[in-house]
Symmetry: D2
Subunit: 284 residues, 4 copies
């Protein structure tokens, strides 16, 4: 713990006793439970608008959608780019949902920031220091995904890169780490949630979609994440997952997402009854 | 999924549609939520009896305690052996708690089985096939811990070794896998819980003590495990953790365990309200 | 380095300045370069005798052959057992090759030791402490394979288990560790060879067959191992690999092994010319 | 193998039967054995010039030196930037050594390319696709380091990103992958060298400095790399390692590098005698 904190001047709980709260539209991340939902990639107006309408109706707070997709092969589908950003803007206007999208290149931070409410740094770019510095100069909230193989120490140092450039609005996102298990796409590390809370003042949300890679496991892991103290969830939802151009096996369909939201909201309300007197004292 | 099941004749859900239920004393593992608790190692009569009394009072169902400890170095404390078994027997009589202890050597299965209610195979011995066959010939329930680096496929094949010798009473136990994260001792893989349920009929319990190696994370992970659908928990508890001869950083003290149990029991009662109509149909 | 050595009373170079030398038949392991070769498993008299004749002719020093095979599934081929030991004995008599085979169960150490010249502890049993203690009580040399996920520290502590029971004849064997790379079966860690030499007095040999799992890579890795300072090699050879009952993709055929041996012997003779004056001083 | 090649249109050996040869100054990478040497980071004129003079005298072909250093913490030393590039240029003029340096940001590719002979993509940026595309548009040779956790498949797809933008001059560099072993900084995967040769036409060099992180292991691993068929080496050398601002434990001093070079050159000349008749046929 000492070793982790020694290079952290800004991210550590010692530097700031109160939890970071980030206002995005009507929701206060770090205080309210936030649910970001939407398709892996923006594929068409119909796909985005129908999915956005449904996630809004189910209770999601923020709309996600990839415009620029980092893919293993140069020959895979890489997103619709600017066209996707314009569709996201349209969905925001139509449904009143703030939007989040991933940025891949330091040159794109400024102009993509004009379109979206939250900038996402993907797992593969967690240690792309040029990109971290650039989003650190932005005034937009940044969602920083944990690298596939990253330790907590490395991850928090990446948050520190953003904070040290003057941007205090950092949201951490656990999305699974690579292990030898192959049944799941990655291994969701839920113990990182209370660990982040005991070391930093930053909010942390959980992405069970990328972590598991299997529709059948997402609801259980979303609920377990809330129980573990996550400040929110990032869930891939597609109006017709079987036709998706990427991540087909891990996007919930609309009824599955509605069912998940219902359970999440019930669990959120139940959670305070699990706290001990000691927890109460700590939180107040 | 197909590849995992192909060598599994007995463990797979295809071979047995109803979930395995294992009766140990008054509890039915696989049906009721079971909590096994007690010290890492049996160290003295006072330590065991006081800890046993407290875990019983808090609501634990089974008493754990190591008699033979596998340790990295030959010069570490290796447990009290037979003396520990006699103390466990005494605690069982005094508090009416069935007992579980680890067995390390194929030669010890028969006689240790005379003392205890459940035989535990530790993570390091998950692929000790001689030992698996021997407990497979026993009539005692077997708790099979997942190896530190094991895949689900390898683990289920080890369960199959036991089942194929004629012992159907196998309980799986997730206790964390080794990853590059060093903040926690291991990484608790909770997604394995619903994965085990979709592939097999065997009960699975979760050990957050070894998984996290940190007292401060155990309650969160125990609750998350219950939310993920675990059939029970294995928790290290010591009446004076600061004096423990092993695993000092991960044994709860008695008030911490009582607080955890209270929350676990509340959560257990709440869980059914999180199920969707689809889940209800599946479970009945 | 300090941390690694602290629990090592006997394995560390500080406890014994001269390198351990182990006499097996005519070869002195730890002094001469030793080549152990033979089939993964003993399958038939014809298979074993023809392979043994060929490896002897090519220059191998010791015949390997599995009698008891640890396999992931209980339904796989597990070796011919006692029949295999008798065939190994016959091959030893016929070709004057000492023999090595794996032992899986603490109950089998004594009687298998009557048949063979070296007892092998496989990677899955590296931390089977009951088995380590039992071979520690034997008077036979022990080849201790590194566990698939083992650190150097854990491995040397396992050697210490054997040494501390009174058996000084321990040979270490690097056989690859599990990584995320899937092109090779495991990842051969050759840097462990000079690391073992700087920390301990024990000989270390290298098994490129299990490490790579691909015939096409074995020769390169065998030569690289010799260059890295290995005290020997363990190579799987089969007179007809395409018919083998296990490890089909990694057993060399007879001409491939003869070609490898020729190159190994040439390289062995060349090696002294690569030493610097500093190395010479250290070695003498 | 089939799966690895399926997305590789340009990197695969099927698309180009002859090995890629890249001319840099007087050396032909992919044909001659190339040695790139120099300090981790350019720290001062004295440091760079003295180190450059010595590595040239010892036989190195290319001078390395970091101008922009990716570091875990934002508060670590990040290199001298432009000043370092000017010093590298000066050293090139003085000693006739082509130079290589790492580029971190897609915005810097063009102007840094004006200064150096080879652009290096570091391990953390292996999947920084924006950067890969940008160097793919450059006319400079690119050294692509393998990511710390990367599979061969992922790595070759990153090479494909560069190739598919029109730059055929890609040199692969193995620098160790992260494993659970802590004695070495990373684990050098030498089996990747013959694997790369059997799948692609691209040259591959080996960096034993980052792979081992220990001066005492570098010579052994450099020689083993040459034996395994590497097309060259990348070695960190510092005229006074004990004063280095980064990577202090893994930079050779000048006499150590001279000793290593002597052995490497002897081994290079010896290598052809290890080839079998089959290898000869394949290579000609």
């Amino acid at each position: 713990m000492k070793e982790i904190s020694e290079n952290l001047k800004l991210a550590t709980i010692k530097s700031q006793l109160t939890k970071t709260r980030i206002q995005v539209g009507e929701i206060t991340i770090g205080q309210d439970l936030v649910v970001m939902a939407g398709p892996c990639a923006v594929e068409s107006e119909e796909q985005l608008m129908q999915t956005a309408a449904a996630v809004k109706a189910a209770g999601a707070n923020i709309l996600r959608g990839g415009a620029f997709k980092p893919r293993t092969s140069p020959y895979d589908f890489h997103g619709l780019g600017l066209q996707a950003l314009k569709l996201l803007e349209k969905a925001r206007t139509a449904y009143g949902l703030p939007i989040i999208t991933e940025v891949l290149d330091s040159r794109d931070v400024t102009w993509i920031g004009e379109y979206v409410d939250i900038l996402q740094i993907g797992a593969r770019n967690m240690q792309n220091f040029a990109l971290l510095k650039e989003v650190g100069k932005s005034r937009k909230p940044v969602l920083l995904k944990r690298g596939m193989h990253s330790t907590l120490k490395e991850w928090l140092n990446c948050a520190e890169y953003i904070l040290s450039e003057g941007n205090p609005q950092v949201i951490l996102c656990e999305r699974g780490i690579r292990t030898f298990e192959t049944y799941t796409r990655n291994t969701l590390d839920l113990s990182i949630v209370p660990a982040v809370h005991e070391l930093t003042h930053l909010p942390i949300i959980v992405d069970p979609s990328h972590a598991t890679g299997r529709v059948s496991l997402i609801k259980s892991m979303a609920l377990a994440a809330v129980t573990a103290g996550a400040d929110g969830l990032l869930i891939e939802v597609h109006y017709r997952p079987e036709t998706a151009l990427s991540d087909r096996d891990q996007q919930l369909n609309l009824p599955q997402f509605a069912d998940l939201m219902q359970a999440v909201l019930r669990l959120k309300n139940f959670m305070p009854t699990l706290e001990s007197l000691a927890d109460h004292a700590k939180n107040n």
